[in-house]
């Protein structure tokens, strides 16, 4: 990199990467819980993709039944700490809270859920779940992200022998690696992994299905297989200069900031992030908080079309990120490393039949921004190469695995799938739901099979 941003003082790092939303004290949690109206058939529960019985878990906080509260949460969701910290609650549970209709602040559901689960972990994860005896059947799960963990937890308690195969050295998938540290620490995700392991789930790390273990062998070893492989690399920008030193994919960058040596991660003095999704915001704010003097977000459409949530946009603006809307990168300039990025201004065409407004370049509007680093955050590609190597599994035109909406079964009856690899990239909470539902699908499938055998 040409100009590396100078390192910060240790206390500055701590400040920049401390919790965005500090935890509740016991008293504050109780007070907030008491504010909850305890709605019947509540809108927040319906708005949660995993349908956590929110008013019940909050009621239990108010009576001091924190263990019972944790159990209520886990009955619907096996990664509730990650969800409490990473969910876009404004558009899910808290957005549906009846207090909004009343013109008052919604209940802080995310923070209350965090309070309950952190208390559960602090207590040493006491046993609150019933585990059925071993039923002699085995399920292999590919990927230890939220979908795989949820599927594994559910199946283990149903009596299955569960093995999760994880390519990375440290499990947890994007829960561990893909969330900005000031939203969630790596240790938080690893505690959720520990809980799942405590149910008897075996997580084999550094195992790459298709390489370390052949797909055929996987299918032979298990009675059913769940695919929770998520998505892959950032796609190429396909512009000149992409190979220069200083160009990095957003997830690679975010992952580095989640390693133990995160303070050593170098960022450029000036950084351009391409794309305006939630991952772009994470990458941009992390770069800024690691000491970058100036961070730009470059996006070819306008703020109306960007996929980042409003609260993420606000966070970025608060961090001083400069947005170049209606701007597209044309080429990355530099000799060996990045020195600048040439952009062109865009305009939006009239909406097409699907309502999308196509951006088109305005000729002669080219301009160059001097930057030392370019972070590509224009989404992730599907792992279509790997997925298409699995026998009888069908992918849609986007490269997502096609599954039955209820059972999560793929076109190969023995194989089930959930999470980002079936939806092309949604929230942790959606993956957690898929994993749990798929486990139920697997259970139904294998139970039927057993009946057939008898």
């Amino acid at each position: 990199m040409k100009n590396i941003a100078p390192k910060l003082q240790a206390d500055q790092y701590e400040r920049n990467f401390s919790d965005l939303h500090p935890p509740f004290t016991q008293n504050a949690a109780t007070t907030e819980a008491l504010r909850c109206l305890y709605c019947y058939d509540s809108p927040c529960m319906k708005a949660c993709p995993t349908h956590i019985d929110i008013s019940t878990f909050i009621k239990k906080i108010s009576t001091g039944n924190l263990l019972g509260s944790a159990k209520t949460i886990y009955q619907s969701n096996w990664v509730p700490l990650t969800c409490a910290k990473a969910c876009p609650v404004d558009v899910l549970c808290e957005g549906a809270c009846v207090y909004n209709v009343k013109g008052e602040d919604p209940i802080q559901i995310g923070r209350l859920q965090r309070f309950v689960i952190e208390n559960y972990f602090e207590k040493g994860m006491p046993t609150i779940f019933d585990k059925l005896p071993n039923n002699g059947k085995s399920v292999g799960i590919v990927g230890s992200g939220p979908a795989g963990l949820a599927c594994g937890a559910e199946l283990a308690l149903l009596g299955y022998v569960v093995t999760i195969y994880e390519a990375n050295k440290i499990p947890g998938g994007l829960n561990t690696w893909g969330i900005a540290p000031y939203k969630m620490r790596r240790e938080d995700s690893l505690k959720e992994v520990e809980l799942v392991k405590s149910f008897g789930v075996d997580i084999k790390t550094e195992v790459m299905i298709g390489k370390t273990v052949k797909v055929d062998d996987l299918l032979k070893q298990h009675d059913a297989v769940f695919l929770g492989v998520g998505l892959g690399e950032s796609p190429q920008l396909s512009i000149q200069g992409e190979e220069l030193s200083g160009v990095i994919g957003a997830l690679d960058f975010i992952e580095k900031v989640k390693t133990e040596n995160w303070k050593d991660v170098n960022v450029g003095k000036k950084v351009a992030v391409i794309g305006a999704g939630n991952t772009s915001i994470d990458a941009a704010t992390e770069a800024k908080r690691l000491g970058a003097e100036q961070v730009y977000i470059i996006y070819r459409r306008s703020d109306v079309e960007m996929s980042a949530y409003e609260f993420e946009y606000q966070l970025a603006k608060k961090d001083g990120i400069v947005f170049h809307f209606l701007t597209s990168p044309k080429q990355i300039i530099g000799k060996d490393s990045v020195e600048g990025i040439e952009c062109v201004k865009m305009k939006l065409e009239e909406p097409d039949i699907r309502g999308r407004r196509k951006p088109i370049p305005i000729s002669g509007s080219e301009f160059t921004i001097n930057v030392d680093m370019v972070i590509k955050a224009i989404g992730q590609e599907t792992k279509s190469n790997f997925l298409s190597s699995i026998p009888n599994v069908t992918l849609d035109e986007e490269g997502c695995v096609i599954v039955d909406q209820t059972s999560y079964q793929t076109t190969n009856p023995k194989i089930f799938a959930g999470g980002d690899c079936i939806n092309g990239g949604k929230e942790v909470v959606n993956a957690a739901y898929d994993g749990k539902r798929a486990a139920q699908g697997i259970h139904a499938f294998l139970s039927d099979q057993s009946k057939g055998e008898k």
Binding site: C39, Y40, Y99, K102
Partner: protein
């Protein structure tokens, strides 16, 4: 111009707010400080027999995050030497001639002992005497306090010992721990008391510690009943107040106490016949300063209503107190939900469905829940409107035109005259005639 001054049994004060005989009125320092803040009067913490307190003496009942919804105490009467109390009472009255200084008394049941303390009390220059027949703990074990208030004969006897020599007004403070509060009130009247004070605290155990199984408050591992006060007791106090206030055999001025925390509570007591009010728990929770809002709030309310003196409203709600048998059975109300205001919490639905009369339907409309009252089945019990968290969202609407009116007593009388028995069948005919269906 609003005038808040009151006269309770000849004891005058510039406003109706007095400190009740309790820890806040324990000393000259406290009473004078209270007067500086604006309190209209005080009932000096009970003086009398030698006592010694235990250390831990209060227990609080918290409810839904609200501290001290109720307060229990096992404190005794004043544990300061009686000479100190007499001296400080005299000094306080001298410093604050326009405020009411009433002294609460409790001694053993001997005529001479009572005569002596009454004389010495009058010598302080105070405005009145209050006889503590209510203290439910400690003192009652020694034959005083509630032990007197619970036996009308004792109540009458001791009151006579006081009234026969007193030259200043005598108030008798009653215990609520009786089955009929009118009996000790009548005894006080018969003995020549000038007024009644009610209620003293209610027998209570505030709670049990789930870790140690000890009672609250815990005195070295032991506990017992204490006196319960605070906002939670107000409805009980209002009822007992009304019982005494409507009793023609009593017909005495009443100084009301029991969970009064603000001017609104005070007005409710006055509307049910209180001459003035006494306050303790709210002061123990927040200090003497609360009287400022009590005076201010009551003054503003009176100005808004065009009321210039509390005499104009005292007892105004009493004529409404009646027996169930005189309530109109055909005064029909039903619940109506304002769909514009509804926030879809469905609390009305679950309350009605599980615990009332199953007459609210829960349906889906445009992706959101909708609650609607099936009016023909609604009995107008009002539970839904009580659980609804939105102001004025569920209203109870009267649907009869007032042309038909029948009380239970009238109905029985009609049946009697026409030679009919009050049977389920006859009652159903009456209900059917008026479009009332009970499922």
């Amino acid at each position: 111009m609003v005038d808040l001054s009151v006269n309770c049994a000849g004891i005058k004060s510039p406003n109706p707010f007095w400190l009740a005989s309790a820890p806040p009125s324990n000393s000259a320092y406290q009473n004078c400080k209270a007067f500086e803040k604006g309190w209209g009067g005080t009932v000096w913490k009970t003086i009398g027999e030698p006592v010694m307190n235990v250390f831990n003496r209060y227990g609080g009942l918290d409810y839904n995050g609200q501290k001290i919804f109720g307060l229990n105490n096992i404190e005794l009467i004043s544990d300061r030497p009686i000479e100190t109390n007499f001296r400080e009472i005299a000094e306080t009255k001298k410093l604050w001639p326009d405020r009411a200084v009433v002294v609460s008394l409790m001694v053993e049941s001997k005529r001479e002992t009572w005569h002596e303390i009454v004389k010495r009390t009058i010598d302080t220059g105070c405005d009145g005497i209050e006889l503590n027949y209510g203290c439910p703990h400690g003192m009652s074990e020694r034959g005083m306090g509630a032990a007197v208030g619970q036996v009308p004969e004792y109540c009458k006897m001791i009151t006579e010992w006081v009234t026969e020599i007193s030259t200043i007004p005598v108030l008798v403070k009653l215990t609520p721990n009786v089955s009929n509060i009118q009996l000790p009130a009548r005894a006080a009247k018969a003995a020549g008391a000038n007024g009644i004070t009610l209620i003293n605290t209610i027998n209570s155990i505030i709670g049990v510690n789930l870790d140690t199984f000890e009672l609250k408050p815990n005195v070295g591992g032991k506990g017992g009943h204490g006196g319960y006060a605070g906002p939670a007791v107000k409805p009980i106090a209002l009822h007992l107040l009304s019982q005494v206030a409507i009793d023609p055999e009593v017909n005495l001025p009443i100084s009301g106490i029991g969970g009064i925390s603000n001017w609104r509570d005070a007005l409710e007591f006055i509307l049910l016949g209180s001459s003035n009010v006494q306050v303790c728990t709210a002061v123990m929770h927040h200090g003497f300063r609360i009287v400022e809002d009590m005076i201010d709030g009551m003054t503003n309310w009176m100005n808004e209503k065009g009321i210039t003196s509390l005499d104009q409203i005292r007892g105004k709600s009493l004529p409404r107190i009646d027996n169930f048998g005189n309530f109109d059975l055909l005064n029909r109300t039903i619940a109506r939900i304002d769909q514009q205001k509804c926030i879809h919490c469905n609390l009305c639905y679950v309350a009605c469905e599980d615990t009332a009369h199953q007459c609210i339907d829960l349906t889906e409309e445009n992706g959101s829940s909708k609650t609607e009252v099936r009016e023909k089945d609604c009995v107008g019990c009002a539970l839904c409107s009580l659980v609804c968290p939105v102001e004025n969202c569920i209203s109870m609407v009267r649907i009869d035109d007032g042309s038909a009116s029948k009380t239970w007593n009238q109905l029985n009388e009609e049946f009697r005259k026409s030679g009919k028995q009050m049977t389920w069948e006859e009652l159903a005919k009456f209900q059917h005639k008026h479009g009332i269906e009970i499922h």
